[in-house]
């Protein structure tokens, strides 16, 4: 770790983030060393505080001092996260969330919100990468319902979990309900739900990812996760997508 890191240009949350992760020894004028919470960054006043003497772009040195705009976006080789690390972090997320809620529904809501934030970013990244793979020649996204759901089922699941989902079906109960099933969801495979919380499914996080992706593709939906165990797959999880009426109306207008 380089010791001659310049101070962050200003106390923008973004810089605080990039430096907080790298080192805690630097101290520059106007630099926040305390970790900012998400709420902090959202409720900031529109006028940023005056910049520190070091101008923007002066960040040199190693990768730790780089601005986030300088970091490559598509360096994926060797940057996969181990499942063990994920399991540990997710366990912390769940227990942290649980200490701040008083019902199972609230807990699921919290996990869904986290997943939603993830989904929004996953979508942007996936679309950007596929567009860049074709050198920005006619960048596209899916705009019809079924291809969108297939995109979630295949691309998004593959990106997040390493393999596509096991099933995509339309509910028999309603035209606007679709189900994405996964027999052994990898994110939550190490989680055992206590008996008194049998309603809980930690896959609510996945539901949030799906909801975030769908919302980004202009398909608002209410997405929930349910554990529907079978003898063969006790952890089989169904992500239930209940589409907004607006989506169904638009599909009717666009036709076949």
């Amino acid at each position: 770790m380089s010791t001659s890191l310049p101070p962050p240009p200003q106390s923008n949350p973004m810089y605080s983030y990039s430096t907080n992760t790298s080192t805690s020894t630097i101290s520059g004028p106007g630099s926040h060393q305390r970790p900012l919470s998400m709420r902090d960054s959202m409720s900031r006043s529109p006028n940023p505080p005056p910049a520190a003497p070091n101008g923007a772009g002066a960040a040199g040195g190693g990768a730790a001092g780089q601005n986030i705009l300088d970091r490559p976006l598509n360096k994926t080789r060797g940057s996969e996260v181990a499942l063990a690390s994920w399991a540990f972090m997710f366990a912390e997320i769940v227990s942290y969330s649980q200490s701040r809620v008083d019902s199972v529904a609230d807990l699921e809501q919290r996990l869904t919100t986290l997943g939603y934030e993830t989904g929004q970013r996953v979508l942007g990244l996936l679309l950007l990468r596929s567009a860049q793979a074709s050198h920005m020649k006619d960048p596209r996204r899916e705009h019809r319902l079924i291809p969108i759901l297939q995109f979630v089922h295949t691309q998004v699941y593959k990106y997040c979990f390493g393999r596509p989902a096991d099933g995509l079906e339309r509910s028999v109960e309603g035209e606007d309900e679709y189900m994405i099933t996964m027999n052994q969801p990898p994110l939550t495979q190490n989680i055992s739900i206590p008996k008194d919380m049998s309603q809980l499914s930690c896959e609510a996080f996945t539901a949030g990812i799906v909801e975030g992706v769908l919302d980004g593709l202009d398909v608002p939906a209410r997405v929930t996760a349910h554990t529907v165990s079978t003898d063969q797959y006790p952890q089989r999880t169904v992500i239930l997508v209940k589409l907004d009426q607006k989506v169904m109306d638009r599909e009717t207008v666009l036709g076949k």
């Binding site: 240009p9 200003q10 923008n12 949350p13 973004m14 605080s16 983030y17 900012l36 998400m38 960054s41 959202m42 529109p46 940023p48 910049a51 101008g55 923007a56 772009g57 601005n67 986030i68 705009l69 970091r71 976006l73 934030e117 929004q120 970013r121 979508l123 942007g124 990244l125 679309l127 950007l128 567009a131 860049q132 920005m136 006619d138 960048p139 596209r140 996204r141 899916e142 705009h143 019809r144 919302d215 980004g216 202009d218 638009r250 666009l254």
Partner: protein
């Protein structure tokens, strides 16, 4: 050649705005300056008859009457209608005031007025790059659907390929910003390096 770029959040609030000139035609004069003089002038909004504020104000009463009675476009009514249009334009401009600040508001207005057209167009197609979705006087509005946000560019010359590549660059920059956990889709972008990068890519492609 002048441009105005806006990044618009899902809630239709501007996250980032930038107006700049092009480096291509007169590479010597404006390398990084957003010389406001290169922007279309106010007069383009005050009607073709070149009416100034006082004339338009005088015509405002009669013109308003004419347009209220069903936009009668015959004879003097037509002239009154034109006057009313000019008066309306002038009234808007009067609120904003002239000068660089006012110009920015006007550009912002044009960009946001095109959002309906952008959404209408994007519903029926899968392409992310929507070229020339809207026109306003000499400005053409092109848009890019970057997942959650929309990139809107006002330009006065046709340059499809350049604009597409420019959008691609800005999209990548935005994605990098958006991946930051301290950034939400509705956080305005205040990274000074972002502007530097956008200007650099504008220089390259526009």
């Amino acid at each position: 050649m002048s441009f105005y770029l806006a990044i618009v959040s899902p809630l239709d609030t501007p996250l980032y705005e930038l107006q700049f000139g092009s480096a291509k035609p007169t590479a010597t004069s404006n390398s990084a300056s957003s010389s406001t003089s290169s922007f279309p002038s106010w007069s383009t909004f005050t009607g073709s008859n070149g009416s100034d504020a006082s004339i338009a104000a005088a015509g405002a009463g009669a013109g308003a009457g004419a347009s209220a009675s069903g936009s009668g476009s015959t004879g003097p009514g037509g002239a009154g209608g034109a006057g009313a249009l000019a008066a309306n334009a002038n009234a808007n401009l009067g609120l904003l005031g002239s000068g660089p600040g006012g110009e920015k508001h006007l550009l912002q207005m044009v960009a946001h007025a095109s959002l309906d057209a952008v959404e209408e167009t994007s519903e029926g197609t899968g392409t992310l790059y929507l070229k020339a979705v809207d026109r306003h006087n000499e400005w053409t509005v092109s848009a890019f659907i970057a997942a959650n946000v929309k990139l809107i560019l006002l330009h006065d010359q046709k340059n499809d390929d350049g604009i597409r590549l420019f959008f691609g660059d800005v999209w990548e920059l935005y994605t990098k910003i958006a991946l930051n956990p301290f950034h939400s889709v509705n956080t305005p972008i205040r990274n000074p390096l972002f502007e530097t990068r956008v200007r650099a890519s504008a220089k390259k492609f526009l």
